[in-house]
Symmetry: C2
Subunit: 417 residues, 2 copies
Amino acid sequence: MNTPTLTTENLRINGERLWQSLMDLAQIGATPKGGVCRIALTDLDRQGRDLVTRWARDAGMSVTVDQIGNVFMRRPGRNNALPPVMTGSHIDTQPTGGKFDGNYGVLAGLEVVRTLNEHGVETEAPIEVAFWTNEEGSRFVPVMMGSGVFAGAFSLEHAYAATDTEGKSVRDELTRIGYVGDEVPGQHPIGAYFETHIEQGPVLEDADVTIGVVHGVLGIRWFDCTVTGMEAHAGPTPMGLRRDALQVATQLMQEVVASALRHGPDGRGTVGMVQLHPNSRNVIPGQVKFSIDLRNSSDALVDQQVAEVRAFAERLTVQTGLSIQIDLVSSYLAQPFHPECVEAVTRAAQRLGYSHMPTVSGAGHDAIYAARLAPAGMIFIPCKDGISHNEVEDAQPEHITAGCNVLLQVMLERAGT
Amino acid sequence: MNTPTLTTENLRINGERLWQSLMDLAQIGATPKGGVCRIALTDLDRQGRDLVTRWARDAGMSVTVDQIGNVFMRRPGRNNALPPVMTGSHIDTQPTGGKFDGNYGVLAGLEVVRTLNEHGVETEAPIEVAFWTNEEGSRFVPVMMGSGVFAGAFSLEHAYAATDTEGKSVRDELTRIGYVGDEVPGQHPIGAYFETHIEQGPVLEDADVTIGVVHGVLGIRWFDCTVTGMEAHAGPTPMGLRRDALQVATQLMQEVVASALRHGPDGRGTVGMVQLHPNSRNVIPGQVKFSIDLRNSSDALVDQQVAEVRAFAERLTVQTGLSIQIDLVSSYLAQPFHPECVEAVTRAAQRLGYSHMPTVSGAGHDAIYAARLAPAGMIFIPCKDGISHNEVEDAQPEHITAGCNVLLQVMLERAGT
């Protein structure tokens, strides 16, 4: 090993400074219950964007904005012809969001730069910190809008045309807050992409592990299911003459979970939404509609779950005579992260002495779209009770620090020193 | 056998006249879809009451009204010191009701009187036809209000104080339509009580049987059940760390049905109403509330079902750690009808050559309250597809006629000729 490598391996970020930046940014849109409401393309979003870009400029970074409002904050390298090693996330929040979701990924990137500046460390490739427009999707759909346009998942025009409940469009609101840039989305090279994020689930906390090495994002299939029987009065209708839609539906709801359990450890099966007709105490349900959410770490596995649920429904129809319709609503392919990035995160956590475990992301992140364009990886840290999208969302300062130290190491390794 | 008995056994009602009266009464509150909307204590209810009492007076009957608006239409006997043999039902309907529910029982009684008049048949005891106030309970609760007050199930003041959604009270509305009588409810002797009614279920039609000999009314227990788990994001939460309230609830919903099937043929178990929280596609349900409706022909049997469902819930709680709360909402005791009345209906159906079978009533009827005061029985006829409380409610003229002929025979037998 040569001297510069030894130096950077000993480099540590300033956890207190990062924590203070998180708390400062959380003041913009702070809610009485300790959360943050800073919805995409509102005045508060602008204030957040203005603060973060000011911090970036204070750290000597240049700032470019693309046409969908994605912001790239750049620290030059020795060889600026190389594509940048990028990190990032988002600073928009849910209406009753927390301080960490997204914001952590952006400010961890800024802290990496501040640390490099402080210690006068140059990198071979440039380093960039991005924040992507409207990741949350709570005001405008689709979610992960900025990174999605960037990756060509859908068009700029499609995103521009999206409107909120008041009829205001993304185009108009982005213009209003002054964040329509010149750069064509996607016309921005990325050498590699890393994103730090709170886990938004209970696995790391439950296992008492500091770093989740994210291998990929689960493939998702969403369905609407309708079971149709015959509504009838609960009193005069004997059991043998019933066509009870709920009794058939509950069997299928159990299969949704059973199938996920057969395809563990990453199989997920959830029925989150149920609607009965007529939904009256003394009427046998004539129709039950419910949602099915199936996820797994590979598309082959999730499609196996889909096939099993469909086959079970067909058997139920044969047995009961009730019709069961299962309609696909949405499909998101599984996105494995790049082996080199996954290994880099593992090595960094190990070197730094942090407990770590392989994990998957069950939720969407901007890194999914970035992974379509460049080698990508994610670093998870625990969050309290696995809760996010909630004002009580919380994370421990030592985990915040640890995740950022891992990020520093992998970016340095990838950018070269 | 003596001569008068032979004569009355050959007596038959006039089916066309009865059908025509049903169609005439159905004009008051007729809906475009062929149903009837004649809700209790509305102007239309008054018009219906006025028409039926006019028909009664035309048939030589006297009319008395009690303080809750129950109407008793009387044909004297030879011995008017004897308590009357009574029949009746109700003429109020559901908002989207049909032509037969209730109305059939009242007009069948009127047709019995018309038939006796036509053939100059005297009875020993007087005969009365009653219609009871607000059987349906769709505007004012409790249901079966008039017969309930009459039988002392609840007080006149309680009934008077009931209000509709606009805040109008039973007392005011009954006064407004001019149907507050002088008679104290319950101060009206009954020698025996019979009620003809459409079945409101599919059993007779399914068995292709004309007359249902009703042995009694099912006991009912209503519960609200709440299963409490922990809501969590469907993506990042692995199956092993979930506390999915719906997956526990669906097992209990299946036991509600399974327990009813174990206590056949009259056991009933229904989950008619389900509510999830937060009821979102990608959130594991944190809480599920649902109704449980258990019925059986004896209270011992229905209480056995209750015990099994509760025991199952306790086992589920032990297995899963999720809390399950089961709260009693209402309890209606089973009401067997009087053996003499049941036998009389059976004999009459047999003598008349109608196919018949023993059956139970799963729904409430005024006869339940009358049975607390006097020997009582009910006569069911099939209705199309078992449907009632619906504008498509329908019954066949030959069944309408048959049920009324049975009523004629049992009333003559009981009143004496």
